[in-house]
């Protein structure tokens, strides 16, 4: 059973690396932000999957904090404006 979780963690890490391609290619900054969101969600999934492999139930709390921080990045990025304008 633990082997399946370890394989899942490996697959998720490959997914994370593949998302980096979008960061490099992405024609607009919106694409790069979406790849960063992907990394956040994939990071949460990797932490959750590693809980039985490393026998560390504290990783669930780490994933919870990560989920809280994921919303802040999107909000901070999309609320910036050109310096000449007000909001």
């Amino acid at each position: 059973m633990n082997e399946l979780f370890a394989v899942a963690a490996l697959v998720l890490l490959f997914t994370l690396g593949a998302g980096l391609v979008r960061v490099v290619i992405g024609p607009t900054p919106t694409d790069r932000l979406m790849a960063a969101q992907l990394m956040g969600t994939t990071g949460i999934a990797t932490l959750l999957v590693l809980v039985p492999v490393l026998r560390a139930p504290a990783l669930v709390d780490v994933a919870l904090v990560f989920a809280l921080l994921a919303a802040v990045a999107a909000a901070a990025f999309t609320r910036r404006r050109r310096p000449a304008e007000e909001n």
């Binding site: 919106t30 694409d31 959750l48």
Partner: protein, 98 residues
């Protein structure tokens, strides 16, 4: 326990499938808004299935409560972030005109 282990394995494989499908969609879809679909819907469903698989492997009530909280937070963050990203992509009023 054998039934739960089989269920956990099926849930984890389904969650991995949706996660990989979401990332492939992010890489291959033509437009920023369609990539947003793949990112928010497929990835969050994959995360939910993975969390269910983790819960099926060692069913404890407190772990289930924490996983439910994580899933709700990720859903709220994804919905809000998707709305913000879509508004900015449609209006084009970011700091560099995109």
């Amino acid at each position: 326990m054998a039934v739960l282990d089989g269920l956990a394995a099926a849930l984890i494989l389904a969650g991995l499938f949706f996660f990989v499908a979401g990332t492939v969609g992010l890489l291959r879809l033509p437009d920023a808004l369609s990539r947003l679909h793949a990112l928010t819907k497929a990835d969050n469903l994959g995360l939910f299935l993975l969390a269910l698989g983790l819960l099926a492997a060692n069913p404890e009530p407190f772990l289930g409560l924490k996983l439910l909280l994580i899933w709700l937070l990720v859903m709220a963050a994804a919905a809000t972030g998707a709305h913000l990203i879509a508004k900015r992509a449609v209006r084009g009023d970011g700091e560099d005109g995109s």
